[in-house]
């Protein structure tokens, strides 16, 4: 059992990185990691020893993330949980962010959650297509189209941001 816990501890930095890239807000990201750990610890007995801890934990966290985005979306239908709120909350952190960093983070938030997850698992976390597809529970072809569409979207958003930046500079 202790060995398993040590394996989980070793994955914490990666879980935090992935969560932060998914959610942007660092506190919300750590809360997601925490929920993931709770669930993992409750299910420690179900963990197949031949399954890599990384994939097991990322699968748990991904499922929690999807639950969460569904809930947020449903709430958004009745409620104006405005972007301004999240911006206000994360404002102090933003002061330390460079424009490049902020633009990547903002762009990711505008990409559909399933595509966002795909480009992050593959491009940031280095999972193979086969691993990422298993983790997300989708066929490999679906994963590949999410990766290519997600990257295409990211490129377009980053271009938009830099154009807007140029326009702002010109206006002054």
């Amino acid at each position: 059992m202790e060995q398993r816990k040590a394996a989980i501890l070793a994955e914490l930095p990666r879980l935090r990185r992935y969560s932060r890239a998914l959610l942007r807000d660092p506190d919300a990201a750590d809360d997601l990691v925490q929920d993931c750990l709770e669930r993992a610890l409750r299910r420690l007995d179900n963990w197949q020893t031949d399954e890599k801890p990384r994939r097991w934990l990322f699968t748990i966290m991904h499922n929690l993330f999807i639950d969460q985005t569904r809930r947020t979306r449903r709430r958004a239908e009745v409620v104006t949980l405005t972007l301004d709120d999240s911006e206000a909350v994360s404002a102090p952190a933003e002061q330390h962010e460079s424009i490049a960093t902020r633009e990547i983070m903002d762009a990711l938030q505008e990409i559909r959650p399933d595509r966002r997850a795909a480009i992050l698992l593959v491009g940031l976390e280095g999972f193979s297509y086969a691993e990422a597809a298993t983790l997300l529970g989708v066929p490999a072809g679906t994963l590949m189209s999410r990766v290519s569409r997600g990257r295409e979207e990211l490129r377009g958003l980053l271009d938009d941001f830099s154009r807007r930046r140029v326009v702002k500079v010109v206006e002054r």
Partner: protein
């Protein structure tokens, strides 16, 4: 060498190391013959580098203690012993995030809304109605604190304390008992020197675990709520988000400590 046709999909496969080694020379030749595709490949690679750079710190910075403790410390499967980290979590949480919650037993049957939405909605409604009342905002004044808290604690079935929010500039005005579905809730009202008011809304509720921020209208008051271990509370006010979060965190810590939940 394979003579297959390459497409944009291969750019991603090559970038992600998914292209078989024997196809790489053909792929490279295709890129050289198609400057557009080559530019695209360079661009995707650069974007990926930016992405990795952006989140590189997360791998090197120290992991918060609460997360490590959770893995090492708590007995597996125990939900009763979770007070310590919940306390730590309460200090930092701000945004909507939730474990799948059940439905508020006390306010059940209302369009099947999730418990935390009902809780936050009730708290905002109560705040909107009573915080606006200059003279009849509360039933028992803050000057009779002992009576107020004893009475409310008995009625809602939880040990209620009045958080000391003086550090954030808020003084207790008083409190009142409110219906909340089939249940009862306590409302404590606070006011600062500028006349801004915030409500602390507390009730016993068994359904689920959740926490977050809720708002009914973009210019209306926000509720920061917690649902955990039979204890439901929401702090409501029309303050800048950062200030409200700070006050709410402080109030919640004191409420939990007072209720013996730590």
């Amino acid at each position: 060498m394979s003579r297959r046709v390459y497409t944009e999909r291969d750019i991603h496969m090559a970038l992600d190391g998914e292209l078989p080694a024997d196809e790489l020379p053909g792929y490279e030749a295709w890129l050289d013959a198609n400057p557009d595709m080559k530019a695209r490949s360079v661009r995707f690679e650069a974007d990926r580098a930016r992405l990795r750079q952006t989140f590189a710190d997360a791998l090197t910075e120290p992991v918060p203690e609460r997360l490590e403790r959770l893995v090492i410390g708590e007995p597996v499967g125990s939900s009763a012993g979770g007070g310590t980290w919940r306390m730590a979590a309460a200090a930092v949480l701000l945004l909507s995030l939730g474990v799948s919650a059940g439905y508020l037993a006390g306010i059940a049957g209302r369009h099947g809304e999730p418990a935390e939405e009902v809780l936050a909605g009730e708290a905002i409604a109560a705040h909107t109605i009573f915080a606006a009342e200059k003279r009849h905002a509360v039933e028992v004044g803050g000057d009779d604190r002992e009576h107020l808290l004893g009475w409310l604690s008995n009625r809602i079935g939880l040990t209620l304390v009045a958080p000391d929010l003086a550090d954030d500039g808020f003084e207790l005005v008083g409190g009142r008992l409110l219906p909340a579905g089939n249940n009862r809730a306590a409302l404590l009202l606070y006011e600062d020197a500028e006349g801004n008011r915030i409500s602390v809304f507390v009730m016993a509720e068994k359904a689920g675990t959740a926490k977050g921020t809720y708002k009914l209208a973009s210019d209306g008051p926000s509720a920061i709520y917690w649902l955990d271990e039979g204890y439901a509370c929401a702090i409501v006010g029309n303050l800048p988000q950062e200030r409200l979060s700070k006050v709410a965190g402080s109030a919640y810590r004191q409420l939990l400590a007072g209720a013996g939940k730590v």
